[in-house]
Symmetry: D3
Subunit: 295 residues, 6 copies
């Protein structure tokens, strides 16, 4: 069950409205790596968890915090939009080019659709979509997804931190960045703990029998490009992270003999694809069938 309180987790108050910046902030609300994404991602992972206990509690514990971040950012954006200008035409721009330049930086649907309100979209106005989230049921894979989400999130918040000097905005962002800092480390720590406890290990999923994979190629770096330096990294030589092998380097791709391209398929002619068989045969057959059926 979710409950709501009309306090915020942290102060969300800009020094002054800024509709241009409001649009930038939409990214960390409704973008691919915005707060809606992490709130929903951790919730679905919790609902799909097959392990009771600390890992699921961790997921629930952070998920609801992320919903609280959604609210902080939404509240901030609504305030940033408070002085959004109404007139939006070439005449208005010619009357004041600075206003015109500002208009060019705002999200036009903030005005027309939301009446100077926050919207569940990214900074380009793309509506948030659930295909952004990941919840596979495999915790090591999903915690890695979560670590990535917090990293991408912190990169984006850091970028928009630099886009403004508003002290109220920066104060709230400094809070969010700190929470991204701890969350990216927590998912990293949780992923490490899963491995340390032997619950799940590299390669994920760890309980798929290795004997079923093609072991000839499970440690090869195969260079499908001509970059000469790819061979110099830790991915092309030395021990593998699963502690079981050694990376090797193949300078160029090679087809596995006899990897010939199979012959084209020949589906039922009634799919009307272009095929080798003379069309006349089908045409004749169809016509005959038609003639017969008409009698």
């Amino acid at each position: 069950m979710f409950f709501h309180k009309q306090e915020l987790q942290y102060t969300a108050k800009p020094k002054q409205p800024d509709a241009v910046y409001a649009r930038r902030m939409q990214e960390i609300l409704g973008g691919q790596y915005g707060e809606i994404t992490v709130a929903m991602q951790y919730s679905f992972q919790a609902w799909n968890a097959h392990l009771p206990g600390k890992y699921r509690d961790l997921l629930f514990g952070i998920a609801a915090e992320e919903f609280s971040h959604v609210e902080m950012i939404a509240t901030m954006i609504a305030q940033l939009l408070e002085k959004l200008p109404v007139e939006q035409s070439e005449a208005a721009i010619q009357a004041d080019p600075t206003v015109g330049a500002i208009l060019g930086g705002t999200d036009v649907q903030s005005a027309i659709v939301a009446g100077a309100g926050v919207r569940p979209v990214d900074s380009n106005g793309n509506p948030w979509q659930a295909s952004y989230i990941t919840a596979s049921g495999n915790l090591l894979a999903d915690f890695t997804a979560n670590a990535n989400a917090e990293m991408q999130g912190r990169v984006q918040v850091a970028r928009i931190y630099e886009m403004t000097d508003d002290p109220g905005v920066r104060d709230m962002l400094s809070f969010l960045i700190a929470r991204d800092t701890v969350h990216q480390q927590q998912w990293t720590a949780a992923a490490a703990e899963l491995q340390a406890e032997g619950v799940e290990q590299l390669p994920v999923p760890s309980n798929f029998p290795r004997s079923r994979e093609n072991r000839d190629v499970e440690y090869q770096f195969i260079n499908f490009s001509d970059g000469a330096e790819a061979k110099d990294g830790a991915w092309a030589k030395g021990p593998t992270p699963d502690g079981e092998g050694e990376f090797s380097y193949e300078e160029a791709p090679f087809p596995t003999s006899p990897a010939v391209f199979p012959p084209p398929t020949q589906p039922d002619p009634r799919f009307f694809g272009t095929s080798e068989k003379p069309n006349l045969v089908e045409k004749a057959a169809g016509a005959v069938k038609d003639a017969v059926s008409r009698k």
Copy 2:
């Protein structure tokens, strides 16, 4: 530049057609974590790389392999669809319930749109979309995204491996699983190398000054749920992965004083939102303005 050869990287030949299974295999071609995703993701990361040398060469080297996997899977699916039935109606199902059950398992657009052909969609028929990919310019964040993508990919391929007994299909999947094994370890190794070389470190992005974040909350686990066991994990106590701090545990969320909800915004009344001000005032003003403008 990309070149193409009409050999495959590995044999892609089913023992026999299976249109039901063809639909399952679409997931690893055109799904969120299918081969199109990784091929495009690594390519865009390479084109956006700001470092020349081994990391970019790594990206190019694997990207083109993933395009080659796209082709192997596409070729396999086309063959699995070769005997897709044409008749698809209640009458056909009543004539043969087994055929009916098979029809229920296929992707109906394989028949109508592609004429028994492979399509750039997932196993539910959702078209592949570029919002699946990640390319931020920050290599540690992106390599973590890549490790996640290979983990999710291997989980999914392992699942569909279990869905069939066809030896030809399983043979190809055993190859792809092995490549997912090596790739998830390579991105993990590459992420470690970035950190070992001091190019990029936790928390990502590492060159955002820590002094700008709210350091009071950068190591706290705050439990927004009531799960009692969240406090027992490596994310709530002990050293943090960045080597600079110690996790702490907060049993419940707390608003930061004075985190009051700000008062509602009052945008320009011409946005026609419902506001505190009596509507009559605006109505009167508008009517007067109208009356004046008509003279």
Copy 3:
């Protein structure tokens, strides 16, 4: 701020797993009128409210309940999927046509993507998207949107109630239907109260001056079809809901003189549209310009 408790608002326990039905239930979770939609819709309306007090409190008060419904349904679906079969091929179907028929009724991504888990999608596997929600800043319009959402929601839950006999599922749905009952009446009551208090009235938005609209056609039913009975309804005669007019009936559409179709536009020829002007002129001009620029 949002908080989470690991109790549910109401028992969510099926008598037994049913993966076919799980797919149906996805509609009321992640569909156009599912619980994610109403939870997000009411939240964004609250964040965009320009009136403090009871209307905004109403929005917050129901929003968090809807998030709690999201959780109940997600929890139910995860349990319904617990016995989802793994094998999914033509061979498996031929071995047991009943299993085949069941497979045809499930969401294939539940298996491959979520490992027998719940997903943020509708019953056809379309990911939830934020373009489903409405939050305009105008409360009478938005409460009408909310009344509609609860009506559509109750229609859909009533339909899926009839699709199963599972007593555990029906028990939870009887709770959700009752909440849809009260919510659709509450939004209706709230819309009436807005009007009774004179805060907002028909036509919405009420503070747009009526003098600015074309009053000649503001009460006409114009029949653009040839249905003879459209003239018999309360929309074609009698008083209008705003209490200010009388509906009239126009038997057929009529252009307003002189509503001629304007002449085709002639944009800059460098947009390369097909235009009346001879192409040769532009070709010559371009060639000359090219020749000059090459010197």
Copy 4:
């Protein structure tokens, strides 16, 4: 059957081109609540109507008018775009900042994709999509959806009316606003008539037996937030709109005993989720099976 005449329902002629404003007008053409939405929504409701006669005739009668509005707006936008500038680079902007500001306000695909033409998109360039429409087969729910659509539509047209002073544009908008006025009242009147005639009543759907819903909670306002004033509205006390009950107020949410969170699910281990069971068991089993199958 649909027919077309090359007259417009009403004059659509701007005083002068205005590419900035053209983008704003796209919202009421191809947005969530634009004219394409209502034209399609009423058409699909008519095609799905189960009642012959006046209600279906009403739907057909307005649907075709909305297609005529689509045409008026499309025609207007094409004219507004007639002088769209071609050059669009930093150099062009530096040469004339006013032109630059104007460019920032236009839809860039109007230029590149349509060559200064109208497009089936909203003001942010999102393509119109059919998931905007509602056609459930239940007329009271759908007429409420229609009333909402006309309200949202009128709010948006009123907003863009204020964005320009062009008398030609305003003249057309004054016509559209008047039609939105009458349509929102007609759907309201039609919804009332459905109820007055006893065809359909609150709660929708009215022929779902009330005895099947959980009657304990069908009239309760449960406050999931801490807003003190939610108890003061017509939704928390007094008679309910269906005339059968009385609203009550619950100050805080409460789980229904024993609403414990169910234990985590344990799907087939071949879905490779992270589960309680030791992985070693499956690993061993898989390896044995593999060893056997290889013999």
Copy 5:
């Protein structure tokens, strides 16, 4: 202006309901090449036409017919769905595997969302979207798009014709196929007429000066694959359709000297990409700036 009559262009009456087939028919209504696409495509091309007269009249003349086809198909699908079963659970399927097989073939949202009604979606339930249409302002390009749309449409209708034996359905489809026949030929004829009249010619757009293109490569077939037979076609030798050149054949791709890959970009470090410059420099600079700003 559009008008509607409650007659259909052609009889749309199935011999009997068939919910499985109804789903197939959705493709030609709401799919990429369904009737909604062509109706909207031709309408937008007409509204964007820069030439008055016969070409624009042609567009209007066919567009409204396509809307009439939308209606015929929608009406047919609604009837095919009339006996859609309600119960949809594993228990229902086990009670009758044939019913189960039928359920697997239907669109589950037809039941839950539309109550056994037609929907604006394709055969996989993807909502129609406006990004399917093409209207560039260039008539030769657009008529080619139209010819393609009618070809794809006829291929799809032919496929679904074969999927059923219902004489009522086949009768309507035989009408639609004939109209696709004539329309694909009409767009072909119209494209030829544009060229014959010199209004527009190959290559499109014909008034872009050829002198501006890189004439060295404008007639070369460059074989980026290793297929030996690509050289044997009319695209690799002989005269070109524009009557101005001769195709040539290049056996393999070649970079144009000096097509070196440019060095990686170095954006502003505040974008926090991973770059060559030591991070310490930025870190130090940021910290200094922070220290200064705090004084």
Copy 6:
């Protein structure tokens, strides 16, 4: 198999960065008719080809070139973005309106999401989606789709050529335009060759028996609009392109007798649509059933 070389097919080097223009160029990378579309379209057509030999080799031969164009454009865009400004607020715009105007012309996600990097989106920031592509298995239909794609592509590249004076950009575009020139002619030639060889002919698909279509209307132009000049074109008189008929002209649409609108459908009442049957009957029945089941 695909291989990659770190050379480009052609020089991709702007004279100087231009973030405004970078956004325009995104259209020809990730738009409906951008290079990703054609690369994927030709690849899927090849994988679905049922004919071995020259036509399939043609598809493979051009597909990989298009991937090489994707890379050239991506490389160019990344360079154009190199000097993208970081500060993006009203304050920054007021400090320098020219910078403000430039910001209004850029894609804001280039900054926040990609850190001044190229993205797989169109010029409005819509992610590329696989529903743009066409691969039906019918070669004449698909080659027509390809000719259209190259025409639309050349129109768009020609437009953006005119948007800049940067000699480096124009040099690369002159190369791409030349390749569009040859490709649109090659698909035209290939379509002609298919017909000349009798493999596939008009109307597509040619092996659907003409006897099955309604031959009464297969050559009629039916004018559903009132444009007087539609009768003057080659589509309304004279021989048809298939060489088998003669177009005729019908001045107005006509319903085919007896094309009456069928009566409304009456689905199972448990779908809760609004129907003719008195609701009381169902209500009573449900209540009785409930009462019985409770005993």
